[in-house]
Subunit: 156 residues, 2 copies
DNA sequence: TCGATACGGTTTCTAATGCAACCAATGGTG
DNA sequence: CACCATTGGTTGCATTAGAAACCGTATCGA
């Protein structure tokens, strides 16, 4: 990051900028790999990851679990449903929502997708040692909470 | 981040995901503050930051310095020019490009903008100590370089 | 000098993202 | 039971980001 910037460039020292470009680089890298291999976009992949892990949930629960917008979740679910990777069942407890779960095919994909995810993760963070990874996690978590604390009171 | 996720949620342990949501939270926080106070969007702010620091450069140099797309730079410059914050001079060395620099008004805004940037940065990362901040920077930098190394050879 | 190629910048088009309005169902209150 | 506020989900719309096509200038080699 420093290499392609003129010396004395203050923008490059701005932490939110470093955070942004790094996240961007990592995200687009992963997005590309998922796209070529499974035809999945990141929101779709996130939904599958959570469903494969938790079993059955509503869209509402998915928005909580993925921290994505509810329309992003809705669209991802629609795509996955059209591809036959997830199925909707009526929710007897609440007629407004449906219960979503992976189909057999969905579970099969999930079984392939998750190892790839771990693989990519391991490759990207291979430059960090074990303890550094944990520390990175910890720092991110704290920054995230702090940002949440600073947000001007908007909760849907 | 852990609080609003069901226990055993594997997505929440996925480092790229943590990186993404954290970056997102920080970015939207900053974007909001700049919007209400200066009517500047992040790309515009970045251009101003670099110009205020480096003095005079072409759009091409700006894309290198900000790591933004060249059309993003172009649009940001157009907006800033319309607002009278930057000016274009013909480039005698190369007729294709222009030399961009802050106007007097632009420098005035820049003088207000940068302290606010540092202020927000300090607030967000106040949860991290001095050495932790430096370490966070270092880790981000390494991850960024690693992501660059893994990218499948596409450079415009 | 001429031609081909590359490059900076601009415009245009299309995909993605987010927001707000909207519909249907629920739950509480009188 | 009627009313109303709330919630899950959906749709439509506006804004944004990115890709590709395009134009004029520069550069390099014959």
């Amino acid at each position: 990051m420093d290499a392609n910037l003129p010396p004395g460039g203050r923008l490059a020292d701005f932490l939110p900028y470093q955070l942004s470009v790094t996240s961007n680089a990592v995200s687009s890298l992963i997005a590309e790999r998922y796209r070529v291999r499974f035809g999945l976009k990141i929101p779709e992949w996130r939904v599958m990851a959570v469903l494969g892990d938790a079993g059955t949930m509503t869209q509402r629960a998915l928005t909580d679990a993925t921290l994505m917008d509810k329309v992003a979740v809705n669209r991802a679910c629609k795509v996955l449903e059209d591809r036959g990777l997830i199925a909707r069942r009526p929710n007897t407890d609440d007629g407004r929502s449906h219960l979503l779960e992976l189909t057999a095919e969905g579970r099969a994909i999930h079984g392939e997708v998750m190892p790839l995810a771990r693989e990519i993760e391991a490759e990207i963070f291979s430059t960090l040692g074990e303890t550094e990874c944990e520390q990175f996690r910890e720092l991110l978590s704290r920054v995230f909470r702090q940002a949440g604390r600073m947000r001007p009171a908007t909760r849907s």
